[in-house]
Amino acid sequence: MTPHDKATLSALFWTFTRVGLFGFGGGPSMIPLVQQEVVKRHAWLSDEQFADILAIANTLPGPIATKMPGYIGYRVAGASGCVLAVVAVILPMIVAMIALLTVFSRYRDVGWIQGMGQAVVPVVMVMMAQLTLDFWHKSRLALGWIASLAMALAAGVLIYAAGLHPGLIIGALLLAALLRPARRHKGATP
């Protein structure tokens, strides 16, 4: 490994460590931070390249905040860059989660600790409601509210009343979206 490679790898590592430590609110909200570091600070990609790659990453499933660092790391420094960038984003907080929750479960029986656990449930309820509305809003904009509601209700019945695996339903929808002729699209479930 040349000193140059080493410098690039260490720049990658610290860049994505920063992104991981300052990116609150889940993957999608971290993207501006990635752009700031990758385009503005290090000029590893141009603005257009970044936008292109982001558009492509969004056509794939899975968390966005690992696809982007992984791809950028690969592009800048090959396979080791890819692994390093992903590890830098995710590892510190995985370790923190495990440490904090292990301590928490150990003292679960202590009254006030139990109270703390109970009190966060309504908060995640509100956060999940917020996400639900956000996804509903996006869905309504793309498909219209009738189609969105019909699809949501149909999926809800299939998953929660008929007990179908959600992956099956989403898989079928993905396949239909891909195979159905692209002329005009109706929103109803296939």
């Binding site: 492509i56 309504p122 908060v123 995640v124 956060m127 699809m151």
Partner: protein
């Protein structure tokens, strides 16, 4: 084969979950709580709360902790790999192909069609957190904390980490 189960439990949500990490949460809940029963709704809510209070992607934090909880460090590794690797490899392997088709209406349609399904699963999860709140914290506290959190998050745009911290303090004092 616990590792294989862990792999599947995280591979499936991440390969069908469009819309970034948050979209994957209800799919993971369906596996971890619904299918394999590794956690109950309450433990899942607590894990998610801490996950929301810390920075970095939510999907990998959940995978890392659940994997560790179920099968130690090896479990964490398997769950995180199943979360990160498939879509990243797809992206690295098929970038050229994807580049040509990322404007195609069919490809755009894929994430659009998945969204209503994710929406209904998120709504269901919201409901299950509500009923979990009722059984553990009771109606009064659930409404009080829920309203307080909603006002703080939506009206005053308070940082989620601060809202979670405030709830922890509240719970330690009033629910203990």
């Amino acid at each position: 084969m616990i590792y294989w189960k862990l792999f599947l439990a995280f591979f499936v949500p991440n390969i069908v979950g469009y819309g970034g990490g948050p979209a994957i949460i209800p799919l993971i809940e369906a596996e971890v709580v619904g299918r394999y029963g590794w956690m109950n709704a309450r433990e899942f809510a607590e894990t998610l709360a801490l996950g929301n209070a810390l920075p970095s992607p939510i999907a990998t934090k959940m995978a890392g902790y659940v994997g560790y909880d179920v099968a130690g460090v090896g479990g964490a590794l398997v769950a995180v790999l199943a979360t990160v690797a498939p879509s990243l490899l797809l992206m690295l392997g098929a970038l050229g192909l994807l580049q040509r088709h990322s404007d195609s209406p069919r490809v755009k349609r894929m994430s659009q069609w998945v969204r209503p399904v994710i929406t209904v699963m998120m709504a269901w999860l919201t409901w299950s957190f509500f009923s979990e709140g009722l059984t553990s914290a009771g109606l009064l506290h659930t409404l009080l904390i829920g309203t307080g959190a909603a006002v703080a998050l939506l009206r005053f745009r308070t940082h989620p980490a601060i809202v979670i911290l405030a709830a922890l303090v509240y719970g330690g004092i009033f629910l203990g």
